[in-house]
Amino acid sequence: MKMDLVVKRRLIRNVLLSLLIYALPPALMFAWLYSHGQTPWTHAAAATHPTGLFWKFCQMMKDNGFLVFIFVLGLIEFSLGRYGDEWRGNETVLDIVCFALPRLVFAPFFAWFSVHVLPSIAPREHNLFNWVPFFWGFLILCVADDLTQYWYHRLHHEVPWLWRFHRTHHSAPYMGMSMASRQNAIYTIFFSQTYVTSVLVYLGLGPAAIAVLTIKSFITTLAHSSLPWDKPFYKYKPLHPVAWVLERTISTPATHHAHHAASSDDGVGYYKGNFGNMFFLWDVIFGTAHISRQYPKVYGISHYQGDPWYAQAFWPIFKSNVPGSELAADGPMVRIDERRSTVSEQDALTLLATPGGD
């Protein structure tokens, strides 16, 4: 299955624009340092460590505080019955495995990469850029980490042969905090933004990375959560201007739930876009945004028949025993429902390049 030409052209245009966006924070920092006549690397204490309440909060979140937060959030969601009847058996095991793997196996692996691999590749470059002021480091990392994740994510939707590595994240017929970590192991271990951030931390942007990852963890977890925290912003008129800014800047439950919808035909769901993780701004810039201020009625993949948890967690190492599944040994790369052929030609063209959903 080949990628549609229209999608391909849009991808190339957007990639070129991204190159400029990556360079923007360092360019702005250069202009600021130049106009202020500053050369921060000449100071004795070049590294800037932030202080204050926000920094203490970030440290607390790094030291298991975030784990407590998601545990409490999960308990609230569960006690409110937000997972419905679907969260049982195979789905429960899959969610627990995907929640535990990154914390018990992948985190030590990424630590090993930072502590042993990077110093052996570039021993003299450690803390090379520790002179970058915290504010600018924060800005650089916001773009570096989240725009890279946007691209990693978008490519897994728009390049047909990459879709099956990301399918696990979309197969659940429900939403909740556990969805944020429900990923195929291969997808997670090769997360490009993890390596980008690790390298920038090694080069001296550690404090900024802690701040960015704290904020990002909250936004992405709350965007997947079944608690619609953004609803009051749409409901009360005085809050509409705040909602307008908020929904265009960061991922909210409304915009991200739309990405997890089973259908894109009802004007609410939009699995063909809304790829942003921390920032929704990327979708606005690249034309992949869909804002409806509503929540989809049905989540997941319409043709999902509960592939075994081990196949979803470790495909292609293990395969699904569900006949016709995209994860089965002889399954299709991207499965498209026949009834989709009744939609417009343009939609069908997009579908060829946009797997998932019905």
Partner: protein, 59 residues
């Protein structure tokens, strides 16, 4: 061999996926590291030029 086991096509798929991942990480890293390196070099050069000029004007 069981059809559930990994095949050569799976290995090739994995390798292609890793290449995509490496590219998606390497491109932003090159841009950012290059920009930061350039920032320091350009500012150093401009700073040393300014210092030289002021030394010449104030002997």
């Amino acid at each position: 061999m069981s059809s559930y086991a990994m095949q050569i096509t799976d290995v090739s798929l994995l390798l292609r996926k890793i290449v995509v991942g490496v590219l998606v990480a390497a491109i932003p890293l090159l841009i950012i590291i290059g920009s930061l390196w350039l920032t320091r070099n350009l500012l150093d050069r401009s700073h040393s030029r300014a210092t030289t000029t002021s030394e010449h004007s104030n002997p």
